[in-house]
Symmetry: C2
Subunit: 101 residues, 2 copies
DNA sequence: TTCATGTGTAATATTTTTCTTACACATGAA
DNA sequence: TTCATGTGTAAGAAAAATATTACACATGAA
């Protein structure tokens, strides 16, 4: 939960999710051009989104032999409310860092 | 929106919301003791939660004359989905920092 | 007056996140 | 082979978030 909120607490990552949702699945290099950020940076953001379970990736071979890593958004639907947070907090560890979705 | 996600992207703040939701309104010093963090730090976190609209504060005079700043959670209910994020992203400014709820 | 309680905030670490730059490796086409 | 395209990641700089410490101020009770 904390991991999900952290993933969404960044303008680039919100745009990435929005773009993937609007335009459908895409591979890193192409998506980087569309979103307007560098590939290594996008790679980092996609990693966080994937760890949060908001996107998934699948490595595919293109016709001309390139290995393309395709990303797409998952069908998440999270209702955030005080009660929901009460429940979610119980899953936080003592050192309260990131952890199991 | 970004502001809300950022506010929730922290274990202390999640606990603060959960505590206020479970135990009802409370003033800073008392809440600091319950949550187990310093008062200045709690003050900072409450500020972020209030800017995000997740809690509200009200200054009150106690019977013995002390000025107590009471906080309570708002009745927020936010449904987070890819489509919702598509919409929310449109409200991001070019320099994409925090901004109007 | 002094103590215990409450309020707020400024200045300074400290820690995390974010971002850039550079490297290494692979494939098909020219 | 060289070029254009794709992949990944490591190292360090830069920026932002987090946390501590210390200060200032107020009130009622002892």
């Amino acid at each position: 939960m904390l991991r999900v909120f952290s993933a969404l607490a960044n303008p680039h990552r919100l745009r990435i999710v929005a773009t993937l949702s609007a335009n459908g699945r895409n591979y890193i290099s192409q998506l980087a051009r569309e979103v307007g950020i560098s590939r290594p940076l996008l790679h980092l953001h996609l990693q966080k989104l994937e760890e949060a379970g908001l996107v998934t990736s699948k490595l595919e071979l293109s016709d001309d032999g390139k290995a393309l890593n395709y990303f797409e958004v998952t069908d998440f639907k999270i209702v955030v409310s005080p009660r929901m947070i009460e429940t979610a907090v119980q899953t936080l560890t003592a050192d309260s860092k990131k952890q199991g979705d």
